[in-house]
Point group: D2
């Protein structure tokens, strides 16, 4: 039995790999190991560890590694803490392959622990261009990884250009679309239950409503408060009811949070309902219904393409991600945001576009991981 | 004044950057900061910290970060310790640019601390191909670095192919050659003084002698003892006096050391003199005189080209480094090593070849660092 | 100049040592060094670092050491992080004496870093009995410390019984009373300004009002929510306006916070105003005016004695602290709390009682620290 | 089944607890857990982990925690590393009781991890007086521990005076004597095999010979080299064959080691045989035969009393340990050492004295640990 160890560091991480975990767990030649760390062990960011267990996965280890502060300093030190403990855990679990997801800062801990210990590293969602330090992290992991699972053709080509051997790169699509596919077919949202979570205004989801999901841009540390305010003021001006999400725990999320708190103090009659976290199945159903999603979340571009959601993408965070016709890019200014939303309102929903996969990435990943393995010692192709 | 912070993790690190430090220190627009860590703070690997101070540099901080054990586990954890403390130090020193050298495991700590804290990263000796995990580290740092100082044309081209912007890549040559140039002109070796250090046989340096410098191959962890034995047995068979150096503190160095101790127990009349460390100026002068350098040290290929030293390069550690006519590559077998050495003995010394620079890299580095700076937010060129 | 380094880990820490810092800074033979760490560097718990700078002290180093989670696991690991970085900082600062305050978990980091590095350790507020793991920490520090500054006679006697040499134990009183003394004489509270901070009801401070300050009991982890609810329900039943404070960042504080949030959701017309932090000068003035202070904060017993505040001390957290006539002890039940408060309302304010000092502890501490030093190598007296 | 977790940090640690581990493993109501850390995981200090497995114990986790350098700084940081990882391990193992041994610096990591996590702590060999920072560590652990297993009557009384409750203190004797008792009855030393290990002179054990076992005194950091030289010169002057042991990995052990290496260079015909480690059964048999044991090892005083070995105890390291008639105390001067040895040579072996137990401590410890447990929340008795 080949042992595949997945290190989960956040809620987003988890939904980006969940369908692959399920496929690995069900594969007769693979044994799944799960390690939970960073924000995934904290109640504060939604109890991901609990969710993982509810889905039938048993964490083999939990590591508290996030240092308080949410500054660039603590981002580095939290990565260090993960890197300090993962070797002990990998020594106990002895995985054949470690699988890491995407590009968050703590994935470097998983990456270095694995490759320094001569364990093969598989990487999902590599090769993409996005701006922010995440892009550097993503490409660096590509240079460490032995097996690549890019999510789109663009990323596949880029990984080859980075000098990785073709037989190690597998354009499987994004595993998150596997979940989206399932959720779109599942039962309806219970509005009452939905609004019992979070705080703020309640409204009828049959009316047109907006969504807002905006995160800190780590290379623009300190600007988060004014950036979220532009978006919130745009929503306010549009006068439509809206759903807003709390930011990721990156460096700078405190700035975004402060901007949101100030907005709430200022507009006490705001039509916005705020969520710390939304279960992915609700989020996806809401993306199917929303008149427009505003912000800088990757979900607008990725899930948005798959679903056909109208998206106003704000600022630099997603600046070079491969995108479909459903996305309008604007800068962090209230008026630009308002205008772009109005343009979408006129157009309505878009056609589905499988840029980021057809909804069966997880199965493909498991099949590759059960196949022949590349050598530990890798070298560039040029 | 632009503040340039150099993090020194080992003796090899230091001699690879020393001429640049001097040029930075002397530049009117630059202020030099020095942080000493990893094996550079330990007596056990030769007191590099002391050397640094003797050369007129004042360490701004010293961090004990090497965890005992010299295994893949401790290599990862030692990197973590560096990454845990460097952010605190960078917060105090507030450098504008952090400069990291080469590809040793602890350079990832310097790299991540800098880029996660939005500090520009300069990287020397990137773009080279060598095999072992060092190659992955080197390319990963390239994907994080803002300013690149490759040491040869081959590496320069490779960094461009990795998607870095041309104006950020500067083929300055290897700063280590700056020292080589100086040492070759300096006064003679005092044999008595030389052999007072280290242990083992003494001999007349005017006679033909061999040199041996062999390090662990991290992706072949556990094989070090038999690898060093092949080389030592070859030296024994050739019957010439020799100088041998202790290995680097990488994962697996304990294996090499054990092989060396066993050899010493077995051949009590061995003609080999063993050094824990050799000052670089002596090492270079010895390379100029030796009949042949055996092992897998990069010095054979790099300094060897500059000096014209006959080199027998053993095993996979340097497998893809750009090399000149002075290098014969062989596998880890006694007979192959013996034959290659004999071939060199017939040929004699080689002509100098400036593949790795003309001896003025340090000045070029300082000039670039004093010039216009690239943006913090970098992205791939394709 | 003898260098005295104070490590500040929390807001409470700081106000417990501030008058001593001032006296050290003003002493001609002493040089003050300040290191800020743990919750003192975090905005989330009130910006203590900023406060320190406003008071004219310059932090020599700031260390982010709190790991998110607020569980027993993270309490231990956060202490580890402090202990990992303080040695590097002490190596830079080279203090002659390190001074640590009280008994919070992170003080063990300061303690071990100092004594393992052969630096003399001074300890304030040792020798007291309180229950919870803090008591064990406090006595353990006594066994490490070279110079003791207990705050009351009871504690002085206990330190001697623990086998410390009489000439190293100085009953100076609590430095926090120095501030209380000053604040009681200072100008009045600006009600408008006061209530602009925090959230909730505003009221006229000339009317009788209650105060509530309740923290988690680490050995009763998990019970915090019901404990705070008993107190909040008592305040609700008494029907008086009140001021409530957010809990310390100990293991379990999230439970207390949750209880407070639920209360706010349930009683939307509550007469309570909630503060994340209150500047000590306001807190003390409010203690002078309040009809009764409820909770388990040490301030009720210590500052309460000095001021004469009626106090209802709830639960086990302060169970064995030396106390005056102003304190009524009750269990964590609403009715007991209500009855005790009513008893105080009948009695009114109490006479001042200098159990915890006369308000000049800081000067005494500086004088001792400038005097002859005990030997590094200590041993028990029996 | 009550789970008892023993954290082993060094070879000395292990032989001090081995008989208790065996008794716990054999007890029907107890389940043994073993965690190996600090020098116990390193080959360099003798492979204790291997020894543990040979004895039939299965380590549940191994933690590399020693930071290279052997200075006061690394002593503190290595403790921090243990404290950083033990909480994760304890979370996985969920022990009911953690048992820690003695007073080495890394025992503070075990102690804090346990008590901060509300796990009961048992402590062996507390209450003793010895000088050096170890004494402070030992008493501090007493103030944290819930169950005490002192090794002698003196220590038992001292723990009570420190304010611990009588029913939690059990004078069981030293578990190391259990092994001594067994080894004294076991088969003879194979001289050839003995001297195949280590380096240096070989001799006939039927002739009178000396033993030397000397460790750094942490509060006299820097003095180790001259201290070991006094002892070695004394042995040289006495002209008898001798067995010498390598020092413990405390801060300062490098000084001792350097002194030993210099001695070996100077006296190439020395009659001393040097061992990095001696298996305890050989060490004990040698103590039974030696004409005199010189140094500052606790074994001279403890095992020495049980066996009746003539001991010259050098310097301050053991200054206040309860001792029998077999010990002569001298300062770190060659002449004093020589004179004291000669006095012992005249007297010969001493009678056995059970100050440190009768050889059945392990069984008593297991019985106590299977009985009723004290409360987690402890408080001082006065």
């Amino acid at each position: 039995m080949r042992k595949i160890c997945s290190v989960i560091g956040s809620r987003a991480n988890y939904s980006s790999i969940k369908s692959a975990l399920r496929a690995i767990q069900n594969h007769p030649d693979l044994e799944l190991q799960v390690v939970v760390t960073a924000s995934a062990v904290l109640d504060r960011y939604g109890s991901v560890a609990t969710l993982i267990e509810e889905d039938g996965f048993v964490p083999d280890a939990s590591i508290f590694s996030l240092i308080e502060g949410e500054t660039p300093v603590t981002m580095a030190k939290s990565t260090a803490l993960g890197l300090l403990e993962l070797p002990t855990v990998f020594s106990q679990l002895k995985p054949d392959v470690v699988i890491t997801v995407g590009d968050r800062f703590e994935t470097m801990a998983t990456t270095l622990a694995a490759v320094y210990m001569n364990i093969r590293l598989a990487h999902t969602m590599g090769g993409e261009v996005s701006g922010t330090v995440d892009e550097s992290i993503r490409h660096a992991i590509t240079k460490f990884a032995h097996i690549h699972f890019p999510a789109c053709s663009d990323a596949y080509e880029r990984i080859l250009k980075l000098g990785e051997r073709e037989e190690t790169v597998h354009n499987v699509g994004c595993p998150r679309m596997d979940l989206v596919r399932e959720y779109l077919d599942s039962s309806e949202i219970d509005e009452r239950e939905l609004f019992d979570d979070g705080v703020g205004s309640r409204f009828d989801l049959r009316e047109p409503f907006l969504m807002l999901s905006q995160h800190p841009v780590t290379t623009e540390f300190g600007a988060g408060e004014s950036q979220i305010q532009a978006s919130l003021e745009a929503v306010e001006e549009l006068g439509m009811p809206a759903i807003a999400l709390w930011p990721n725990p990156d460096a700078g999320s405190e700035d975004i949070a402060r901007g949101m708190r100030k907005y709430r103090e200022k507009y006490r009659d705001s039509k916005i309902h705020f969520f710390k976290n939304l279960p992915i199945h609700l989020y996806v159903k809401l993306m199917q219904r929303t008149a427009c999603l505003i912000g800088n979340s990757s979900s607008g571009i990725r899930e948005g393409a798959f679903i056909g959601t109208p998206v106003v993408n704000v600022g630099t965070r997603q600046h070079a991600r491969q995108r479909g016709a459903n996305v309008i890019d604007v800068s962090n200014h209230k008026d630009s945001i308002v205008n772009a939303v109005r343009q979408h309102l006129t157009h309505g929903a878009y056609l589905q576009d499988p840029i980021y996969g057809d909804g069966y990435a997880g199965d493909r990943i498991a099949t590759v991981l059960a196949g022949s393995m590349p050598m530990i010692q890798k070298t560039i192709t040029y």
